[in-house]
């Protein structure tokens, strides 16, 4: 298998060139997504779906950056998404419209507006700050306790968004955001976030976080700060999630705090789990699979005729299918489609490790380098 130039494996070879190949793999993965999306986007009625997919992908890559590297299932990330959406949305609403829709908005927010990537950065930053403030406390917890604490964070964020009436219109619908989200904006953000997430994963900080995930006591005994390493992951991933929220705001133009609550959370977790929560590549795959599934279900709910047979499923079937997909995935592929594997460029010397005297019972699961055929365009 020395002639493959691309492989799916759980790690990259040691050293600088290995790191370069891993990052190259991430770039390639985002390029593949970009090309396929561009092609699909041209099909009739698909433009919107592709944009939704792109935003979902940013979202899941952001989520994965935390959940994958720290092993903590977070329910709080929908809250970060909401913060990003509101912050980005407020930045993007034109000054004239602010006067109309937000008469009580304080002047320092009402007197300006922003276009282009600025609302995205603002959305990401607000979310990142929220993570930075709460992280040092929340990240002391592990396992289910951490999950429930992040659920608490979500409830708190939701509550705050519902109460900050002058700038969010409270629990009522926030609207008036111009529809600025374009293909280029979504997919450039996606490429950037994939690269950011991969760079983090393979960096020293990311490695420390993964070490804490696998064996917290041993990591501490090796000098790693558990809280700090998790907090770094929390902040980076909140930043990316916030960007996704801001993109979302400018695609849909209207939303309410309820849009960033348990329903959306299930969607994110499902995408991450199905693709493989431990893998950046998996995040892309998961976002694609669930977006397609959702879209198909949405169409079926609306009633579709196939060969003279009208399929008309009762409303809500998308959620049920999502639930079933989750259970089935967890049963047959507990680690998602990709597990810990990433797309990694392999050079001529990049063969798998040589376990000379490997045990007799070396299983297939355990061999970690699965060569794949180079992706077809």
């Amino acid at each position: 298998m020395t002639n493959t130039w691309l492989s799916l494996r759980t790690n990259h070879p040691a050293g600088r060139s290995g790191l370069a190949r891993a990052l190259g793999g991430a770039v390639l993965a985002s390029l593949i997504v970009l090309v396929i999306s561009a092609a699909v986007s041209g099909l009739p009625g698909m433009a919107q779906v592709v944009l939704v997919f792109g935003i979902n992908a940013v979202l899941v890559v952001g989520y994965q950056t935390f959940a994958g590297n720290t092993g903590i299932v977070s329910f709080g990330h929908v809250g970060f998404m909401g913060l990003g959406a509101y912050a980005g949305g407020i930045a993007a609403v034109p000054v004239a419209d602010k006067e109309l829709y937000f008469p009580d908005m304080p002047a320092f927010l009402a007197s300006w507006d922003a276009g282009g990537v600025l609302p995205l950065l603002i959305g990401g930053l607000v979310a990142a700050v929220a993570a930075l403030v709460t992280g040092p406390a929340l990240m002391r917890l592990s396992g289910a306790a951490a999950s429930i604490a992040t659920l608490g964070l979500l409830v708190v964020i939701n509550n705050v968004l519902s109460q900050a009436t002058p700038i969010t219109r409270g629990p009522q619908s926030f609207f008036g955001v111009p529809e600025n989200t374009t293909f280029a904006m979504v997919f450039l953000s996606l490429c950037a976030t994939v690269l950011l997430s991969a760079a983090y994963k393979w960096s020293r900080e990311g490695r420390n976080a993964r070490a804490v995930r696998d064996q917290p006591a041993a990591a501490a005994a090796a000098g790693v700060s558990i809280v700090r390493s998790r907090t770094v992951a929390f902040v980076i991933s909140a930043f990316v999630t916030g960007i996704a929220g801001a993109l979302y705001a400018q695609l849909l133009t209207a939303f309410s705090p309820g849009s960033f609550y348990l329903g959306q959370m299930v969607l994110i977790v499902a995408m991450a789990i199905v693709g493989g929560v431990n893998s950046v590549t998996g995040a892309l795959v998961g976002a694609a699979v669930i977006t397609v599934l959702n879209e198909v279900m949405r169409r079926l709910e609306g009633g579709v005729s196939v060969a003279g047979l009208t399929i008309d499923l009762p409303a809500g079937v998308a959620a049920a299918v999502l639930g079933a997909a989750l259970i089935v995935t967890l049963k047959w592929r507990p680690e998602g489609f990709l597990g810990h594997r990433e797309l990694i460029l392999a050079g001529p010397v990049g063969r798998g490790p040589d376990i000379a005297a490997a045990r007799p019972g070396q299983t297939e699961e355990e061999s970690d380098a699965v060569p794949v055929v180079p992706a077809k365009p």
Binding site: R359, P360, G361, Q362, T363, E364, E365
Partner: protein
């Protein structure tokens, strides 16, 4: 001629697609004790799992006193008299020490009924506390609070609580102080009676060979030596069986 206590009849077993144990045959007479030796990863633990039913063999049969128990579920085998002190000890950390031991006695309870078993269980507890006094002293402490060696004692004690006809011990000396290890084998010597067969898995052989009637060496999932323990005491044969490249099966 009575049927042997345990016999493995051409067992092949493994995980997913990789075979670990290949065409393994073994038989253990009533009251006999056997030392099962082999290097790291040879498949000893896997073999134990097959015997207790945690791993279903791909082919072959497990017979207990002549009856085929291959399809009997793991949770039913203690009632037939099979008990294992597993590798890694398997202590219930959230249960107290006494509760751990009572779990071991569950098979007796299920078999004899609640009332009839009461005396047997009390007697069993007494015996275990006598063999390992530290367990008696700490009986209400949680399992996870014990030191490594203490946990090992608890695992063995728990297996004894089932009053097994076939006692299986997977590396019982791991982490035990030399004195305790010595005492353990002495105790095993007493426990191995006409009604009870014992199989001990060990990597280092000295003590096990001193105790067992027979020795059996596993290499890469196959049996490469099966002889009386006294003969195997001849170090050279064992060593060659362990590490040698071409050793024939002697039997």
């Amino acid at each position: 001629m009575t049927a042997p206590l345990l016999s493995l009849d051409g067992i092949t077993a493994g995980y997913r697609t990789t075979p670990v144990i290949r065409d393994f045959r073994l038989s253990l007479a009533e009251g006999e004790s056997l030392a099962l030796l082999g290097a790291n990863g040879a498949g000893k633990t896997t073999l134990m799992k097959v015997m207790v039913g945690l791993l279903r063999p791909w082919s072959g049969r497990v017979l207990l006193r002549g009856s085929d128990i291959t399809e009997v579920a793991a949770e039913e085998r203690p009632l037939l008299g099979v008990a294992l002190a597993p590798e890694g000890r398997g202590i219930f950390g959230t249960l107290s020490i006494e509760e751990n031991l009572l779990m071991g006695a569950l098979a007796v309870r299920r078999k004899e009924g609640r009332r009839a078993s009461r005396a047997l269980v009390a007697e069993g507890l007494e015996q275990v506390y006598e063999t390992f006094p530290v367990l008696g002293k700490r009986r209400d402490d949680k399992g996870c609070h014990l030191s490594g060696g203490q946990q090992q004692m608890l695992a063995i004690g728990r297996a004894l609580m089932a009053r097994p006809a076939l006692l299986l011990l997977d590396e019982p000396c791991l982490g035990l102080a030399p004195k305790v290890a010595g005492e353990l084998y002495e105790a095993l010597g007493r426990l191995s009676t006409a009604e009870r067969g014992v199989v001990v898995v060990e990597e280092s052989s000295r003590r096990a060979l001193g105790f067992a009637d027979r020795a059996c060496v596993v290499k890469l999932g196959r049996k490469v030596l099966d002889c009386p323990a006294a003969e195997a005491g001849d170090d050279e044969a064992i060593m060659s069986a362990y590490f040698g490249v071409e050793t024939e099966v002697r039997s």
